[in-house]
Symmetry: C2
């Protein structure tokens, strides 16, 4: 059995690498002299580290942010070259300093404890570089004000100072500007060291956030839909799953686990081979009183009926005018429904949808 036959009969995701490349190039072109890095952590948000990172490298990217040391080593092996800078966002893993150095992975150090451990295990005149994470109001990773004041660093081996924004996508929030100003103030004695604070949302918020480097992630993969100025970004994702049975259901019958949806008239349903074990949120379930998610067939919306099962979900095809049959594919993410809409219906965010799509969902990479 070859891969093609498998792909034809199971759920699959199209990942359009050309769109990712286009997004990268367009963002690069709009940020002036700033460096366009790429955030490829968590297996490139679940899209596949190797394919995405190589695409970005071939599009001109030289700086990559991964989750941790192990993902950094994986990316170093993919590149097979030390020409690309790899930052491990989660900081310095205990007792692993030598691994960062031997693989030329730049740890993003965010606490005095990490910095002390790094220095204890490093030669004074090392060529290895580190990044520092300054917490400017996110209250997650990073040095806080007191620690930064006490930093006595000659700057020799500091490659980058980064900070991260908590509400960059919210036009009403004033926090991003506060965080930016704080970073500028905290770093004014770190002369000649690159500074970065912009995630995807901040790139489109205001030019003042661009600084020396920007670190787009979601905007490279799914576009960034909350802002008109970024409407030219392309979504690189489509998701489809096959119908495995068509059924006529009599009025009064209940559908699926918990008998939580009752047919109030005779209806026709399709059973789609896609469930929460594939990454479809259980929260897309519906009852008679609360609508849930929907899929699309031939551009027509088909609502989810009842609960999402582990491998299967039922959709309402009663009003479909075209003939729907076993073996047909339904659109979960595509031209009719973007990932943000799906996420909103599930009460979550697009990032969670992307990163939870299971290895059972085959990825088809498209190059044009």
């Amino acid at each position: 059995m070859n891969d093609d036959s498998q792909n034809m009969l199971s759920a699959f995701m199209n990942v359009n690498l050309a769109s990712i490349s286009n997004n990268y190039r367009k963002i690069s072109a709009m940020i002036g002299g700033s460096i366009c890095a790429a955030t490829v952590k968590a297996d490139a948000y679940g899209l596949g580290l190797e394919e995405v990172a190589v695409t970005l490298k071939n599009s001109g990217c030289k700086y990559f942010f991964v989750s941790d040391l192990y993902e950094g080593i994986r990316l170093r092996d993919i590149f097979g070259s030390y020409d690309y800078i790899i930052y491990a966002l989660n900081g310095l893993k205990p007792s692993m300093t030598k691994e960062y150095i031997s693989n030329k992975i730049t740890p993003v150090i965010g606490s005095s404890a990490e910095l002390a451990e790094y220095n204890e295990n490093t030669e004074v005149r090392t060529e290895h570089r580190i990044a520092l994470h300054f917490d400017t109001g996110f209250s997650r990773l990073g040095f806080d004000d007191d620690e930064i004041d006490k930093l006595s660093i000659n700057g020799d081996n500091i490659d980058l100072i980064m900070s991260h924004l908590s509400t960059a996508e919210d036009p009403e929030s004033k926090l991003p500007e506060k965080q930016l100003n704080k970073l500028l103030k905290l770093t004014n004695r770190f002369i000649g060291i690159k500074k970065t604070i912009a995630n995807s949302a901040a790139i489109f918020r205001d030019k003042s956030f661009l600084l020396d480097m920007v670190r787009p992630g979601i905007s490279l993969y799914c576009g960034y839909n909350e802002n008109e100025s970024s409407s030219w970004l392309e979504s690189a994702i489509e998701l489809y799953a096959p119908i495995i049975q068509i059924k006529d259901i009599k009025a009064g019958s209940t559908i699926g686990y918990g008998a939580s949806y009752r047919a109030i008239k005779d209806i026709r349903i399709a059973l789609v081979e896609f469930g929460y074990a594939d990454g479809l949120p259980w929260s897309l379930k519906s009852t008679n009183h609360q609508s849930g998610g929907k899929f699309y067939i031939d551009d027509t919306a088909t609502p989810i009926l009842g609960r999402v099962s582990m491998d299967i979900v039922a959709i309402d095809i009663t009003d479909m005018k075209s003939d729907v049959k076993r073996g047909d594919f339904v659109e979960i993410i595509g031209s009719n429904q973007n990932i943000d809409t799906l996420a909103k219906n599930a009460g979550t965010i697009s990032y969670e949808i992307l990163t939870r799509l299971n290895s059972r969902v085959k990825k088809h990479y498209k190059y044009e």
Copy 2:
């Protein structure tokens, strides 16, 4: 870098195969003459098909339910033997009949369309066996009443007739008994063919559901906590993640994305390297007005503060009496918190938690 060093510094799950074996043997001992099959679909609910299926085989199991043909072929390769019966629950994939036959995978056929396709592609006197799925009120996969009445089958190659319950875990619901009675009525002309309807909950509901075969799944892996009569089942799962930074947060600071949680006094937080990309539900987030999930350190509850990030989550360790430091591990599932409690706090079910745990979470298999 060897695997052990990785395992020591990243999130990991313990899967106690001895508990799975114990659960299988104990359930087998309480079901009289009924066959104890095992439901190992969706990569054994995310626990690892190979390790779980081999454990069950070595515990005496001969009948296995998987999701589909491809998972069936994988399991056949794992066994390297035709001595074990493998049922593919999702039915007959279009144009793949010969693959079921050559790999001796038993499709669980649930519609006339599938049965017609199977018969068209099979010799009349085949040794290959099929199972039939009768829909007795679940309104998911399976033949409905009209189709069953029209079935003209000599029974030669039907190995099993199965049905599936919608509300077996609900003691108030009368649907399970209705479904059971319907199955018995629908199958009374299928003499000499094994019948099965019991999932985990039905095994503990009443002996009348046992029939010729039971198909436990969740009860083998996590116990089954909703019923006193099954309190002797063992949970086979523990989940831990490391702390990567400790921080003191001043009153008034907001924590994480969306600035959705504000510290109302000076607090101390720990940043845990475990986020929704690992499988931690985003819905475990908290605000000042709504509590979310919690982890445990030294048997003390430490609540999640703010949103769950892709790779990281913050917990409140202000009241911890013991010294908590970077590199310590927190309990996500274990002796203080079972998977049902975690799922309930996330507004979902244990099955979704299990099957969404990402490949980034290393599995440690324990054998005693």
